[in-house]
């Protein structure tokens, strides 16, 4: 014990010797180490506390974002069916190819490879190369909604920066069939024309969202998959269109317009009692002289002067008002000159040249006398003439409510000036769409009751249940007796009048022809060869119990020959399509007395 301080002193006084390690003073070092440890752990604890409290929410979100994938569940767009359940338009899976320019090393080579695979034009290839060269962008579309097979071929190239994602596309399986009625959608699936536009809200469903947690390989983490919002599919539309009738009508129109060298044609087939439009077609000649089914629904959006078809309205009004009967005889001049000797001189004549002669109302309609019809119109007066024209559906949009539908032209009777007071009686000074015109004649076929046309008869909800649409609105326009009298007269138009080429063997057809002269630049051509015609026939069958009303119009048939009239240009198309319509609807001709009486 006595020697200890000596030992301690000796230790302290030891000199530093290189290469010799001595114990030193552990006490201070231990304190320093302790303090350092406390500080480090304190710092760690503080950081952990901050992470778990103040920054917790942001890091929780960041972590969730890292392992969570939010996928938009695209709601499928509804299908447009024809009346028999055949698809007119539907959405099918497709693939969109895109490129991230920032990941592309050689834009020109990439663009060339894509152009080869996707058969892009040189201009499109160059545009793509330019777009890929712009490194500021992170996304450039290459091809949208291409078929999966082509997309797989492109992706198999494993081009840097090129990727794809699934995206449905809208297709019309029937090609051009009824495309004017169906309309179209844009690349984002929004309806931009036709039924696609009109029923866009119905066809479009509600997108959903799938939130799931996934591992690095993209596999969902067990127990984490959650559908937060299921997609609601769009409702499907059951149209009134019959695909077979539509095709037959389009082909017949194409053939007739091509045969005549006409500018085009329009046709509508309507079910008499329901107003269901079974077919609605229009064709047009392009600049190369080739005829195509139009993308526009001309029958609803274009109006024209109907010509003599409008006489149905005038004669029916006269009969219904009781001012004439079918047997009432009028003295009919060959022509009438209005405002003679003035700058506003205007001559109205009949198509058939004749001297002043007595004609019954029946004959006036059968032979389509303009002068005779004016005579009937003058008996009812312009106000009642106007009332009947509006009651028959002229001058107003139909309940079809088709996008871009025209309401035609029908000035209020108070604004009728000069010859405008008489020309509407025989279809001039008034413009009507094909839908309006067929609706007017269908009123006669439907026993005097106007029935609004319609193109959609039902929808199919998300549960697959069919929900019938509201039936078409109806209104009584003329009495059943008047309708029956008109029916008989119009049968005679087909059997003995201007529409003999609309006759169908074994079937009784009633109808009326019309040959309107088109105003070009606001003027009617005076020289015969320069005139442009709009020739129509509207008929219904079987006349004894009408089931179907059909309108055929030929736009600008050849002006210089006999085929310029409604009875020669349009009626043969009617004759050609009736057998198909009968077959599709199961219409059986009467076993006896069907068709025109044998002479």
């Amino acid at each position: 014990m006595v020697q200890r301080p000596v030992e301690r002193k000796a230790v302290r006084s030891r000199a530093y010797v290189p290469g010799v390690f001595r114990a030193g003073q552990p006490h201070r070092r231990l304190i320093a180490l302790f303090v350092l440890t406390v500080l480090v752990f304190g710092a760690v604890l503080t950081r952990v506390t901050i992470l778990q409290t103040a920054d917790a929410s942001s890091y929780t979100l960041a972590g969730a974002h890292q392992r969570t994938q939010e996928t938009v569940l695209r709601a499928s767009r509804g299908v447009i069916f024809d009346r028999n359940g055949d698809e007119l338009a539907l959405s099918v899976p497709a693939t969109t190819i895109f490129v991230n320019p920032k990941l592309v090393g050689d834009p020109a080579t990439t663009a060339a490879a894509l152009a080869t695979m996707l058969q892009l034009t040189p201009e499109r290839q160059q545009a793509l190369a330019d777009a890929i060269s712009n490194k500021d962008k992170g996304f450039v579309y290459v091809a949208r909604q291409i078929d999966d097979k082509t997309a797989s071929s492109v992706m198999a190239l494993k081009l840097a920066g090129v990727d794809s994602y699934p995206e449905s596309t809208r297709v019309i399986p029937g090609g051009d069939l009824a495309r004017g009625v169906i309309g179209r959608t844009d690349t984002d699936g929004k309806g931009t024309a036709g039924l696609e536009q009109q029923y866009d809200a119905v066809l479009t469903g509600a997108d959903g969202e799938l939130v799931r947690q996934h591992d690095r390989a993209g596999r969902s983490i067990p127990g984490s998959g959650t559908v937060t919002l299921p997609a609601v599919p769009g409702r499907d539309i059951v149209s009134t269109i019959d695909r077979s009738i539509q095709f037959t009508l389009e082909q017949a129109l194409l053939a007739r317009a091509s045969e005549l060298g006409a500018r085009g044609g329009t046709a509508v087939v309507e079910e008499t009692t329901t107003g269901n439009i079974l077919a609605m077609a229009s064709v047009r000649r392009d600049d190369q002289g080739v005829y195509h089914v139009t993308t526009a629904n001309v029958g609803a959006v274009d109006s024209y002067e109907p010509g003599s078809v409008a006489k149905v309205v005038t004669i029916a009004a006269g009969l219904n008002e009781g001012v004439v009967t079918p047997d009432t005889t009028l003295r009919v001049a060959g022509k009438i000159v209005y405002n003679s000797g003035t700058p506003w001189e205007f001559t109205i004549s009949d198509a058939e040249v004749h001297a002043t002669q007595p004609m019954t109302v029946h004959e006036i309609l059968v032979h389509s006398s303009n002068i005779g019809t004016i005579g009937v119109s003058e008996k009812i007066g312009p106000e009642r003439q106007y009332d009947y024209m509006t009651a028959f559906g002229l001058g107003q949009r139909s309940d079809l409510n088709f996008p871009g539908e025209s309401k035609g032209i029908l000035k209020p009777w108070q604004q009728w000036q000069g010859t405008e007071k008489v020309t509407p009686a025989y279809g001039y000074g008034v413009a009507a769409t094909a839908i309006q015109l067929i609706g007017a004649v269908n009123t006669i076929a439907n026993n005097g009751v106007y029935v609004s046309p319609r193109l959609v008869q039902a929808t199919i909800d998300k549960a697959g249940k069919m929900q019938p649409a509201a039936p078409s609105a109806t209104r009584v326009v003329v009495t059943p007796q008047t309708a029956q009298e008109m029916n008989l007269i119009m049968r005679d138009v087909v059997c003995n009048g201007t529409a003999t080429r609309a006759q169908v063997d074994g079937i009784t057809v009633a109808g009326k022809t019309g040959t309107g002269i088109k105003a070009i630049g606001g003027q009617y051509a005076t020289v015969a060869k320069d005139k442009a015609y709009y020739s129509s026939f509207v008929g219904f069958f079987p006349a004894e119990a009408p089931r179907v009303t059909t309108l055929i119009s030929i736009d600008e048939p050849p002006a210089g020959n006999i085929d310029r009239f409604g009875g020669t240009a349009a009626a043969p198309v009617f004759q050609a399509v009736v057998p198909t319509i009968m077959h599709q609807l199961g219409i059986q001709p009467p076993t006896t007395n069907g068709g025109c009486p044998k002479k």
């Binding site: 449905s168 095709f247 199919i460």
Partner: protein, 182 residues
């Protein structure tokens, strides 16, 4: 299981038995009473003192049981997690299968619609040499002919006639089941 004292403890336990001047009086006299044997006893090798260690069976069994239970629970948890993972995998696979089936259904529907399209049928018929009819005629079939055909082919039974399913029905069934499955 009794605990046995380790061998290296023996010298320590023997230490108190060594003779020291202070401790000689504390030795029990009864150990070797025969003086004749005392010398022999002193010459003999000192023997370890065996002590009975308190039994710990109960604690050991508790530890063992707890270990087994814990192991079982862990094993169960692992198995449960594995089962969940398997089910999730199966669910993912099924979801993909449903999605693929739905896509295939749409593709097939398109193909069917295209095949039934009047445009295609017309082209195909023309290729086969068919031409559109120029006119049509309706014939009246005699009752005798109808009767003969009926006798030959028979009527369509009610069972067959009423079991036909329309295109709309078929579509509705699929839509109700599949809907917009993700």
């Amino acid at each position: 299981m009794a605990a046995v004292a380790p061998l290296h403890d023996q010298p320590e336990r023997l230490a108190p038995r060594r003779s020291t001047p202070g401790q000689a009086d504390r030795r029990p006299m009864s150990r070797v009473t025969d003086p004749a044997l005392r010398g022999a006893a002193d010459r003999a090798t000192p023997r370890p003192v065996l002590q009975v260690v308190p039994r710990r069976r109960r604690a050991a069994s508790i530890v063992a049981t707890s270990s087994v239970i814990l192991f079982g629970l862990l094993l169960g948890a692992v198995a449960f997690q594995t089962r969940i993972a398997q089910n999730q995998l199966a669910l993912d696979t099924t979801e993909h299968a449903v999605k693929d089936a739905r896509a295939r259904y749409d593709v097939l529907r398109r193909a069917r619609a295209e095949l039934r399209s009047p445009n295609r049928l017309s082209v195909e018929a023309t290729r086969l040499g068919m031409v559109p009819a120029t006119n049509s005629a309706f014939m009246t079939i005699s009752a005798q002919t109808v009767a003969r055909m009926t006798a030959t082919a028979g009527w369509l039974t009610r069972n067959v006639a009423e079991n036909t399913i329309s295109s709309f029905d078929q579509f509705g069934v699929v839509k109700a089941v599949a809907g917009d499955a993700p």
